[in-house]
């Protein structure tokens, strides 16, 4: 089996803050990888580096054999992403959001139209294709974002806390889609979550990051056995401690709060 994601000694510092302190990890093609850690541990920073949004301070990344620094567009074509915060255009319809994505990724018109139909059916939004996204619930937006992320046939899909704020029904639905995709297309899933049972149930391999370092990795079973705990949640707490993390009220957090206040 080949590794579709290969990370070696990856470091990112912001001024004097070391957000990611030389981590290494690899993800095998066609597997589901759970990337766990407390708030502020370095999860989002790592995902941003993997997805060409942030330049690493040092270290090496290979996504499907390409380096995000030297070949960003090759890397970009190989993955789809669902961000922590919705990134749909609320003023456009579901179909238009999909169409725009396809056009940006250079998917030919004919393939695009067929693929949009197929994916909207896949996430049960076919009957809402002409509705504006602003009318959608949080769960519907997530489903549409997943569909959009898959439009250009990516080999990897990154999901940054995809089930945050979703009810158990929608969450189960979503994992069902991803499971089916994983089986039929052999797509690699890289996700973060704060729900440990979700990680235990869905991830083939798990890595736990804390204070910018990977503190443990392996299957859910291995992590539980290694720590001598019954559940992944207990294993996680054993590995990362019980202290509540103080995430600095960054500009981003401030913006997020303002956005919620505006009802975005």
């Amino acid at each position: 089996m080949t590794n579709i994601i290969e990370v070696k000694d990856l470091k990112k510092t912001f001024g004097r803050l070391e957000a990611v302190k030389g981590i290494s990890l690899s993800v095998e093609q066609g597997t589901t990888f759970g990337f766990l850690g407390p708030n502020g541990a370095g999860k989002s920073t790592t995902i941003k580096m993997l997805t060409t949004l942030l330049r690493p301070t040092s270290g090496r990344i290979l996504i499907d054999g390409n380096d995000p620094i030297t070949h960003p567009n090759a890397v970009r074509r190989s993955f789809g992403i669902v961000f922590q915060d919705p990134s749909l255009d609320d003023d456009l319809t579901a179909w238009e959001n999909m169409e725009l994505h396809g056009a940006l990724y250079g998917v030919t018109r004919k393939t695009r139209l067929a693929r949009i139909d197929e994916l909207l059916k896949f996430v049960d939004l076919d009957d809402r294709r002409r509705s504006y996204v602003r009318e959608f619930s949080g769960g519907m937006k997530r489903r549409l974002e997943i569909a959009r992320g898959l439009l250009h046939h990516p080999k990897i899909i990154f999901l940054d806390e995809p089930t945050l704020g979703l009810d158990p029904q929608t969450r189960n639905h979503m994992w069902e889609y991803l499971g089916r995709l994983n089986e039929s297309d052999g797509i690699t899933v890289f996700f973060t979550t704060h729900y440990m049972d979700e990680a235990d149930r869905n991830a083939d391999t798990i890595a736990i990051i804390d204070h910018g370092c990977i503190v443990a990795s392996g299957t859910g079973e291995e992590l539980k056995r290694h720590t001598g705990k019954e559940s992944l949640e207990d294993a996680f707490l054993e590995l990362t401690g019980r202290d509540i993390r103080h995430e600095s009220a960054s500009g981003l957090e401030h913006l997020r709060r303002m956005r919620r206040a505006r009802g975005g």
Binding site: T51, L53, R76, D89, L100, A103, G106
Partner: protein, 249 residues
């Protein structure tokens, strides 16, 4: 490259046409200025024995709609890059410069459309352009100024990382640019300091250009206006693209 610019531009236009409340909302301020200043102050200037102040004010108010709309649109990018659709375009396999250009011209088109709506409204207020044939070149000058301010908005947004900074920019950049530009008063016979400030204010050239074409009153001369506007627009586009291409999130 061109395809990306076109897609991004088209999206801005679509959004504009769909948000009636935004269009109407952006008209409030210019109308208020026309009423309060055009009619209110118009009295004073007529008493002082000058020509119609309303006539003089119209190009200034059109430019006001343009600068506010285009800078605001450009700065929206702060918001968009963190939560909005922009993030989606930043992971797409397309050139960032193309995204920036599409966004700039989209914002500029929207601002120009807004300026044209204000122009149409002033006709209801009794405004009549000096020559109808010159309205088209006036719209082109409006678009040029709008492109300049859209690019400036994006450039400024790349330095400011939250919406708090936005207020700062409004109060210390946009407001002074508007009030010092000669949009509200003629630049002749003003104190030398004010005149010096007006001559380094990019909006002055936009106002003067539109005023020249609409009411045949010029301060700098149309050739200077267009040259300065183009030069500044190109500079901001260059700096904006450079900043935007290197922006990290």
């Amino acid at each position: 490259m061109l395809r990306t610019i076109y897609i991004t531009w088209l999206r801005e236009l679509k959004k504009f046409l769909r948000s009636r409340s935004r269009i109407v909302g952006a008209l409030g301020q210019p109308i208020l200025f026309l009423l309060a200043l055009g009619y209110g102050l118009g009295n004073v200037s007529q008493g002082a024995g000058k020509g119609s102040y309303l006539l003089f004010l119209v190009p200034g108010v059109i430019c006001m709609a343009i600068i506010f709309t285009s800078i605001f649109n450009g700065m929206q990018i702060i918001w968009d890059s963190q939560f909005g659709f922009l993030k989606e375009t930043l992971v797409a396999p397309v050139s960032r410069v193309a995204i920036m250009l599409g966004r700039t011209f989209g914002g500029a088109s929207v601002a120009t459309a807004q300026g044209c709506i204000v122009f149409a409204l002033t006709l209801l207020f009794g405004f009549e352009p000096h020559s109808w044939a010159l309205v088209i070149p006036a719209v082109l000058v409006m678009f040029l100024a709008a492109s300049m301010f859209s690019a400036l908005g994006i450039t400024v947004a790349s330095f400011v990382t939250d919406m708090q900074g936005f207020q700062l920019v409004m109060n210390f950049l946009v407001m002074p640019m508007f009030f010092l530009s000669g949009a509200l008063y003629p630049l002749t016979n003003i104190p030398p300091l004010l005149r010096a400030l007006a001559s380094i204010d990019p909006l002055s050239y936009g106002v003067d250009g539109v005023r020249t074409l609409l009411i045949h009153t010029s301060y700098f001369g149309i050739a200077t206006d267009v040259t300065v506007l183009s030069a500044i627009a190109i500079t901001f586009l260059g700096v904006g693209s450079h900043r935007f291409a290197r922006l990290e999130f």
